[in-house]
């Protein structure tokens, strides 16, 4: 089995040329939509309308690049709580995201039972998530195991932060997938912080990707603020998985542009200088510059796209706010499935 650590993952130029302009613009739109929804959720939180928000800001390129390499309606995703851009690409609507934020009865993720950002949709093959981190990694291996038993060719993709790689479930899940060459892609979105704990207190390796060879699988570290680079490494991992050659561990190096959550204040543990420099790595600004530079999107077109996205977020927010809350009696529903 080929085992390598690729510290020199392909850059933007390698993949950008292969994708049609419409796809590139759609990727950009998804990133902008995720950001706009995310920012709106923070405003709603600060206005007292949403008790809790957890962000994907800074992770958009890593998520959109990866999700565009998957096949919607076929491949299975298990995105962690920062996976807003992932689920948008996989088919969740802004209104559905807002229904979860407001804990409405018609929220498809959980009917208002879970905190926001605990994504789930059987229709979209997005597997329900919990809050204890890493539990989805054995699930991902198991979804892949079932796929192999059934002889199917769906690929399974799961995401998590670098803090989660300290959990036993990270080790156990990847190890199982490696032993049975299961069609699973493990994407670590490394933003260098687990709430407040920096990477160097989480692990002694430089890169999460270094751990791939320990499991006998490729570990690839990629610039997660480069949407096309992430697309390209994920596309290769998907091909490898569908061929039956087994899993890949991908570390997407990203930035966390917000505090951990609406209940955190990252100025207590990050310096003003660091926060400034993080802003300079904004993946959306980076991709916008690329699209402008290659005449794939004019500044006027970008303004129009952003206006459309803002209108979409407005409409989603208004519709979700109008939706009914769960009835108290529904508390007792769905404890057990009926045969």
């Amino acid at each position: 089995m080929a085992v390598s650590i690729t510290d020199h993952a392909p850059g933007t130029a390698d993949a950008g040329a292969e994708l049609p302009a419409t796809t590139l613009r759609e990727m950009f739109r998804c990133m902008v939509l995720a950001r706009a929804l995310d920012e709106r959720m923070w405003l709603l939180n600060r206005a007292g309308k949403a008790p809790f928000v957890i962000s994907c800001q800074g992770h958009e390129a890593a998520q959109v690049g990866a999700a565009f390499a998957l096949t919607r309606g076929k491949d299975v995703t298990l995105p962690y709580y920062r996976g807003l851009a992932t689920v948008l690409v996989m088919g969740m609507t802004p209104e559905e995201v807002m229904l979860a934020l407001f804990a409405r009865a018609t929220d498809p993720n959980s009917g208002g039972r879970q905190m926001p950002a605990h994504y789930s949709s059987r229709r979209l093959k997005i597997i329900t998530q919990s809050s204890p981190v890493g539990t989805q990694i054995p699930h991902a291996a198991g979804v892949g195991l079932a796929e192999k038993i059934k002889g199917g060719d769906a690929v399974v993709w799961t995401s998590f932060g670098e803090g989660t790689t300290s959990q036993g479930d990270f080790h156990e899940g990847i190890n199982l997938a490696a032993v049975h060459r299961l069609p699973v892609i493990f994407q670590c979105e490394n933003n260098e912080y687990a709430i407040s704990v920096p990477q160097h207190q989480q692990m002694a390796v430089r890169s999460v990707a270094d751990r791939g060879p320990a499991y006998g699988i490729p570990g690839i570290s990629v610039d997660g603020t480069d949407v096309l680079a992430v697309y390209e490494v994920t596309r290769r991992a998907v091909e490898r998985a569908r061929r039956g050659d087994g899993p890949t561990l991908i570390e997407a190096r990203v930035v966390r542009l917000t505090a951990h959550s609406s209940d955190d204040n990252d100025r207590t543990y990050r310096s003003p200088r660091e926060l400034q420099s993080t802003r300079r790595s904004d993946p959306i600004a980076r991709f916008a510059a690329y699209l402008h530079e290659h005449d794939l999107l004019s500044e006027a077109e970008e303004r129009e796209l952003r206006a459309q996205v803002a209108a979409e977020v407005d409409a989603a927010t208004e519709a979700a706010e109008r939706a009914p809350l769960p009835e108290p009696e529904s508390l007792l529903n769905h404890v057990y499935a009926q045969s």
Binding site: R122, D169, G173
Partner: protein
């Protein structure tokens, strides 16, 4: 009807279900070529191959966690935890994942899986091969907990568990595996999850038990019969959902109740049964509700005198029955 032991009954249930439904697979430590450390899956790898009888890595969280994922991808996993004592690393995957997924997804996802776990003591298993885990898991809504005592019930309940759309913890008492034999019909049948079973009808007092203790209670009841005391022995069989109606119905008839389990007394499952009796049959009671359980020590020691001192025995149970009968 052929007479088989409880272990063979479980193997037959797995085998017959796997022959009918190719979505079913077994995942656990040593279940493949070795056939499991107790030989429950012996021979099944030859019949169903290594893609359906799968030796797992030695890691309980992923045994359960992978089965949770597989269950959500249209298969029917049977996870084997080699000894119930080793289930702790999988606690999170069972309690926070398997048991909550249907609820937390508002009914969107289901987790149809069985977790088989050999439990219980009296086999020189010491602290980490003798434990009772039922109280901990019976506390968890979303999970079903089954603890059969006879080959007939084990086979019929395991088939029901495999077909159930929910996660089922299936507890197999190790000492009953080869010790307990019984007649099992050759035709396909089910024992439903939920109902308790009155294994011995009686009039003077009611005893509630499950697993090995059911047999010790039957033995004690036999001794009491010779003394002119008629004991009703109720096999709970399923701890969650619990058959409250049968428990209360029995106590209303006999007016006296004893609950027996190996698990240590404090916070044990007997407390729940006693509370239900106090709540629903208080006016029919003629005596305090008694419980017999293991002592409140961390787990069962290895040395024979210590193990014997821990385990409830037919003699200890008979003594409690006499106290109750005389009250």
């Amino acid at each position: 009807m052929p007479e088989i032991n409880l272990l063979e009954a479980i193997r037959q249930a797995i085998d017959e279900m796997m022959a009918q439904d190719e979505r079913i697979f077994v995942f656990g430590e040593d279940v493949g070529r070795r056939g499991g450390v107790f030989r429950v899956t012996e021979g099944l790898i030859d019949k169903y191959g290594p893609m359906r009888i799968i030796d797992s890595p030695l890691a309980e969280s992923v045994i359960v966690g992978a089965c949770v994922g597989a269950a959500m991808n249209d298969t029917r996993p049977i996870a084997e935890i080699q000894f119930a004592d080793f289930i702790a690393p999988a606690f999170n995957q069972i309690v926070q994942e398997a048991a909550r997924i249907h609820y937390r997804s508002n009914g969107d996802w289901t987790v149809p899986m069985v977790i088989r776990a050999p439990w219980g003591g009296g086999i020189h298993g010491a602290l980490y091969h003798s434990q009772s885990i039922e109280a901990t898991f019976a506390h968890v809504p979303g999970l079903k907990v089954v603890a059969p005592a006879t080959p007939y019930d084990a086979k019929g309940l395991l088939k029901s568990a495999i077909e159930d759309p929910n996660p089922v913890l299936f507890l197999e008492h190790k000492k009953t595996y080869r010790l307990i034999k019984g007649q099992v019909p050759e035709h396909d049948y089910r024992v439903p999850i939920g109902p308790a079973d009155i294994k011995r009808p009686g009039e003077d007092l009611s005893v509630f038990a499950y697993g090995l203790m059911l047999h010790y209670c039957l033995e004690a009841a036999q001794a009491l019969a010779a003394e002119g005391v008629s004991v009703e022995v109720v096999d709970l069989r399923t701890l969650r959902p619990l058959d409250v109606a049968t428990i209360i119905g029995s106590v209303r008839r006999t007016s006296k109740a004893l609950i027996v389990h190996e698990d240590n007394l404090t916070g044990g499952f007997g407390g729940e049964v006693a509370a239900l009796i106090a709540e629903h049959a208080f006016e029919q009671l003629d005596a305090p509700v008694l419980r017999i359980g293991g002592p409140d020590v961390p787990a069962m020691p290895f040395a024979k005198p210590l193990e014997d001192a821990f385990m409830p025995s037919p003699q200890k149970i008979a003594a409690a029955m006499r106290r109750l009968a005389a009250y």
